[in-house]
């Protein structure tokens, strides 16, 4: 996953995540729900990620685990953009 992708995800989280923790302080694998991401906010994050990357999550990816960390979101974005998931 590219640094640019991670930065974009951090921006979306800062705008829509309503986290109780500073987004910049989060490691890619930190649990976003533990950092205060609510169910309603995770849906807003999902919609904003779709806009930011011009992608559409299929039904099978509309799950809690896909939005559980920055790296999980980046993996999902990578899959939908046809990039290798790891990197």
């Amino acid at each position: 996953m590219s640094d640019h992708t991670i930065t974009q995800i951090r921006n979306v989280l800062a705008q829509h995540g309503r986290l109780s923790t500073n987004v910049e302080a989060l490691a890619p694998d930190d649990d976003l729900f533990a950092a205060g991401l609510s169910s309603h906010a995770s849906v807003n994050v999902m919609l904003a990620i779709e806009d930011a990357f011009d992608i559409e999550f299929p039904d099978s990816m509309l799950t809690r685990s896909v939005f559980s960390s920055i790296s999980a979101i980046a993996d999902a974005v990578g899959q939908l953009q046809g990039e290798p998931a790891a990197g």
């Binding site: 609510s38 169910s39 309603h40 995770s42 849906v43 999902m46 919609l47 039904d59 509309l62 799950t63 809690r64």
Partner: protein
Amino acid sequence: MSPEVRQASADQAEFLAALIEAGLLLESGVPGVYGHSDTFEEIRERLAERLSAEASSRGAERLRFPPVLPRRQLESSGYLASFPHLAGSVYSFEGDEADARVQADRAAAHEDWSEFQHPTELTMMPAACYPVYPAIARRGRLPAGGVFVDAGGAWVFRHEPSHDPMRRQIFHQHELVRIAEPDAVLEWRDEWANRGLELLRGFGLAAELDVANDPFFGRRGRMLARNQQAERLKLELLVPIAGPEPTACASFNHHRDHFGSNYGIELSDGSTAHTACLGFGHERIVLGLLRTHGFDPATWPAAVRAELWPDR
């Protein structure tokens, strides 16, 4: 455009026809909107008294609200993001005398008269607990231990016309609400889920407790529903009434700080309160009793009668 009316299964259609034939339900001409007979209301009122007695013996405070919600409150609650398909709004006439004449003529001919109708300050009540949160927030910081409210069997509206007698557009939802510290709220929710299970089984109903989700709208709704399931935020008591599926007769909902932060409800130490509510569907429970024990309560098992008519 008329909304799609959900069809009933053969079992549900047969049950509805029998209820109407017996005079227990009075047809209105609109699917999902029925009047109740004297017998039906006798059972329903006994159930309401029983539920309120269970709550009051555990310290609940009674609050009652009319079946309309200030539109501003619906707008700020997030309901329209989660359930746009179920909400109903109250519209009323705005215009001059000429407009009124045209409206009346079109209405008399059953033509479209909606252009003269404009939103009022009110919407239909989506859930009986909605007016409780701002009312409690207005009191200021909660007392130690929080509050426990019995909002009673209030009329609530869901725009989902159906020929299934268990799926009403307007029905009595008996809500109990707890607003307190996070641990106390979760404990209360789970305790009442088990109390509800025992209560319905005491009525001779084959109730089961299960994890559930709300009927959230669209794609964002599918994700919300999965989150709700994964976090066990909603539990339901399911009773087989008329197949194929069992009917949810009560739900036990944990909102975490959703309403507490929305309405600024503060605990005695100034932190945000958590909330939970539970709702018993009066009509569904009455229908469960009628289907399980027969249409004449005089012939019901003595143990079931003793639960609802303890003084006879």
